[in-house]
């Protein structure tokens, strides 16, 4: 008497169960397969190639009609099971009642639908089965059609790539900061985004879907930030959850999935479960390898053999043709873990290995995944990698050899070996230049153009110099920004502009950063460079700013802060002074001081009081004085022609105009201005970053003064006749400084490097360039000239200033 086996679901796992049973006991079972889809088993993970047109449905069918017929399997395709009756051991479908001796639940998973308005509109689909795939293929036949994919995980990106290949204009909206955040770190996520964008796929990270818009069918997707993407098709691929409804209704034990033991049995020993619908040892499964292992165990259990399911690590690959991506194991940072990072910016290659206690525990690779399976083997086997650690990241080809001295390696290169990829310069050309008299990197650059473009081969060129000249060559000690890179600030600024790098991961990847997320030296510098060069594209990163700029106040030695409202040109009035006095009373300010920049400093403010004192001062019309910023601080003035009997021009008025134009701008270091109404110089303008001395015939503009660690008088930039020219030259000078100086160089230090003559040529002589600099400054101000006090009046912003929790009221034990 044959046993009756009923399978609910015809996915990849249940197909594999059928095969195992038929192989071992072809006559022992009478099998019935239900499938909600009107078709049998096919290779679900190959839906993406079907969508992209690289395969047809017929090619991915794993079990065709002949298979079921020849093995006498009853197919109930297109027929859904609606109830499991455990007492009578039967299942009810929407058409029939079928008895079982053993039942296998293989219902897989259901796509997660985000509960937003418009989710049910026609044209909104998920991506799980052949019907979804066909719906996407049909939608893509409309010329110029637009698709929005919600979700930048594996499935969403495969859908996006397929739709793009079918000719649709595709936007991917992803909630997190980088794509595939569960499998990739930010650096690899950035490379993936770059590759997808090169294929014409628009990627919107940190995008939260607010609603799907449309009358009779989908027309657009609206994000929380107000962005609207028109859409003829919306594919939701935000995640999946185990399909457990039948098991729930049958009162089987269900956690996140149907709970099974090591033998894949549910809480009812006659009911087994397999695939994405199960939960084993509190773990869910989505990739195919563990599902196949489960299928083997299911078959063994049914056949009365001993077997136990033991999950193994799995590796991820994205099935998008031309994108090489590999991730395996655990790659989160943790104490005791170390990274080995390899980056090859020109080839778009990124590899990161995570090591713990001399074992490889995780690997992320992008661009070159050839060694992926080798690394995966090391992870699975727990191999001791200490002996090969130095060359581990280069893969199996480099193991077993002697460790190489880099200089010897360069010396051993043949003359035709390419050193500079940008300009195609071989080692022989460089050696010839050295033999022709070049002895420095600069001379090599000038004669051969080697390392004159992206600069990443500079180290190699220096090694060629060293190996050719021997002791006659001294390695130059260019100061890198920090230990994260060998590049100088100047190199990085140039490369950010030249390569159009617009985000921190972009800079770190393309310029070969040696750490995964930078350090307190490079991050504030990069944050400034990026916001100065790309005001419209880059988003300021508060976590890469020092405390003062993050909290918009100066931290004091006891952890309290100082608050300095702006007093334009040093002018104030009784209303403002009253507001300041009231605030000092209300918040019990311990210190009130008049500053050197002609304003009033409230010292000793508690952090949680900051948003409140700002709000009070805002009400009186006072705004932040940026007394804490690498940005415009003050414009110090004298009273000029308004009151002074010696004044030659309206120095106070000019100072106020300059301050109103420049405030809120971020600069490499702090910037202080002074405007004096006559050469007596009561505003002490001659030691400021920009100092203007008014004379009868106009305005003398000086730059590069200092009165801090160094004492230095300004140098004359120009003398101009009108107030407007004085403002224009000042603005252009500040913008030139913003675009070119090294972070934390005051203008006088920067001037010593570039020379006053070069600056004069840029802003005084070249009127076109002056206008362009001013235009770029004003563009930046359109984004950044905002009062940070007013911006922080919102409850969300204020939350950051309060404790996460207050336990001082809890009773002590």
């Amino acid at each position: 008497m044959k046993q009756k086996l009923v399978l609910i679901g015809a996915g990849m796992a249940s197909g594999r169960v059928l095969e195992h049973i038929l192989a071992q006991d072809p006559e022992g079972w009478e099998m019935t397969v239900f499938n909600t889809e009107p078709r049998g088993n096919y290779n679900r993970i190959m839906l993406s190639p079907v969508l992209s047109g690289e395969k047809t449905y017929e090619e991915i069918v794993t079990h065709d009609d002949d298979f079921y017929a020849s093995h006498k399997i009853t197919c109930r395709f297109g027929e859904a099971v609606v109830q499991i009756d455990r007492e009578n051991k039967v299942v009810h479908s929407n058409k029939d009642i079928v008895p079982y001796d053993k039942l296998l639940i293989a219902t897989g998973s259901a796509p997660f639908i985000i509960p937003v308005q418009g989710k049910d509109l026609p044209g909104v689909i998920t991506y799980r089965d052949m019907d979804d795939t066909q719906a996407m293929i049909d939608a893509s036949t409309k010329p110029g059609g637009k698709a929005v994919v919600i979700g930048g995980g594996l499935l969403g990106l495969e859908a996006a790539a397929g739709l793009a290949l079918r000719g649709m204009e595709v936007t991917v909206i992803h909630l997190m900061g980088h794509l595939m955040e569960r499998q990739l770190d930010p650096a690899a996520g950035y490379l993936l985004q770059k590759d997808l964008e090169a294929r014409g796929i628009h990627v919107h990270c940190k995008g939260a879907t607010k609603a799907i818009l449309g009358q009779d069918r989908v027309e657009a997707v609206l994000l929380e930030d107000g962005t609207i993407y028109p859409a003829d098709l919306v594919c939701m691929a935000v995640g999946i959850r185990p399909e457990t409804r039948l098991a729930n209704d049958a009162h089987l034990e269900v956690g996140r999935g149907i709970v099974v033991d090591d033998q894949m049995r549910s809480s009812d020993p006659d009911i087994l479960a397999v695939g994405e619908c199960v939960e084993h040892d509190r773990q869910l499964f989505g990739l195919v390898a563990p599902l196949y292992d489960q299928a083997k165990v299911v078959a063994a259990t049914l056949l009365g053999q001993d077997a136990a399911f033991r999950p193994v690590q799995t590796a991820t690959k994205l099935k998008v043709t031309g994108v090489d991506l590999f991730s395996a194991g655990d790659f989160a940072d943790a104490p005791g873990r170390e990274d080995i990072v390899f980056r090859d910016p020109a080839r778009g290659v990124y590899k990161r290995l995570v090591i713990e206690a001399d074992r490889l525990i995780g690997a992320v690779m992008y661009g070159d995944t050839a060694d992926g399976s080798w690394f995966f083997g090391l992870i699975k086997d727990g191999t001791d990698i200490a002996p090969m650690r130095d060359t581990l990241i280069f893969g199996p080809a480099y193991q077993g050899g002697t460790s190489a001295d880099p200089l010897a390696a360069v010396a051993a290169l043949p003359p035709e070996a390419e050193i500079c990829g940008c300009n195609g310069i071989c080692k022989g050309t460089i050696v010839a230049a050295i033999e022709g008299g070049a002895t420095t990197l600069g001379e090599i650059k000038a004669r051969t153009k080697a390392s004159a473009s992206c600069g990443t081969c500079t180290g190699l060129v220096e090694q060629v110099l060293a190996s050719t000249l021997g002791n006659a060559f001294e390695m130059p000690a260019a100061q890198p920004i920090c230990d994260c890179t060998d590049l100088t600030h100047e190199d990085v600024r140039r490369l950010i502009k030249a390569q159009g790098l617009k985000s921190m991961p972009a800079v770190m990847q393309e310029l070969g950063w040696k750490t995964s997320c930078g350090c307190p030296s490079c991050r504030p510098a990069l944050n400034f460079y990026l916001l100065a060069d790309w005001p419209l594209d880059y988003t300021d990163d508060a976590q890469s700013r020092f405390v003062n700029e993050r909290n918009h106040a100066n931290i004091q030695k006891d952890g309290t802060y100082s608050v300095v409202p702006r007093m334009w040109g040093g002018m104030t009035n009784p209303r403002e002074l009253r507001a300041i006095a009231d605030a000092a009373d209300k918040y019990a300010i311990p210190g009130v001081k008049v500053t050197g920049g002609q304003r009033i400093d409230l010292l000793g403010v508690k952090k949680e009081d900051l948003p409140h004192i700002w709000a009070d001062l805002n009400k009186a019309g006072l705004v932040s004085g940026h007394a804490y910023s690498k940005g415009l601080r003050t414009v110090k003035t004298c009273v000029g022609t308004d009151f002074c009997r010696f004044g030659t021009q309206d120095s106070t008025g000019l100072g106020i105009k300059l301050e109103k134009r420049l405030w809120g701008s971020w600069t490499p270091h702090k910037v202080k201005l002074g405007v004096s109404g006559c050469p007596r110089n009561c505003a002490e303008a001659t030691c400021k970053d920009v100092g203007i001395i008014c004379v009868d015939s106009g305005y003398e503009i000086g730059v590069g003064g200092a009165a801090g660690m160094d004492l230095k008088e300004i140098e004359r930039l120009a003398k101009v006749a009108t107030e407007q020219e004085a403002i224009d030259l000042t603005v252009a000078f500040i913008q030139l400084y913003r675009e070119n100086a090294k972070y934390l160089d005051r203008p006088y230090k920067w001037l010593a490097k570039v020379g006053l003559d070069w600056v004069k040529a840029q802003v005084v002589d070249d009127l076109g360039n002056r206008a362009a600099l001013i235009a770029r400054f004003d563009l930046s101000q359109s984004i950044y000239q905002r009062d940070p006090w007013a911006d922080r009046a919102t409850p969300q912003a204020q939350m950051g200033f309060t404790p996460l929790a207050d336990m001082t009221q809890e009773a002590a034990e």
């Binding site: 940072d333 943790a334 890469s544 931290i555 030695k557 404790p803 809890e810």
Partner: protein
């Protein structure tokens, strides 16, 4: 160990920190770039600077006052500096931050 839910992970920005006020002073709760949390006394061993206001990089924080670097996992000063701050058991579960309630109440002497 009794775990106390002190807030959501998303209440702290990545690579940022917030403080929990206790009767023994503030405890800084850090969230790193990889969404791990660490709790330490909010006082730099150098001059008492508020570590919660420092720049978080990898699993370390740089004190905002004078730049001492403290490892978040062990509370020890890094590099040539010497010093240590007390650490507190902390973990994330279901998007919530959990701290050891008894340790918070007892303070660093535990």
């Amino acid at each position: 160990m009794s775990w106390l839910d002190i807030g959501a992970l998303d209440d702290i920005p990545p690579r940022g920190a917030r403080v929990v006020k206790t009767q023994h002073g503030c405890v800084a709760v850090f969230r790193t770039h990889d969404d791990q949390v660490f709790a330490l006394d909010d006082r730099c061993p150098h001059r008492g600077g508020p570590l919660s206001e420092g720049i978080v990089h990898g699993h370390a924080v740089t004190c905002p006052l004078h730049g001492m670097v403290i490892g978040l996992a062990d509370g020890l000063a890094k590099g040539a500096d010497e010093g240590a701050v007390a650490t507190y058991p902390a973990r994330v579960e279901g998007g919530r931050i959990l701290l050891d309630a008894a340790r918070l109440i007892r303070g660093r002497a535990a």
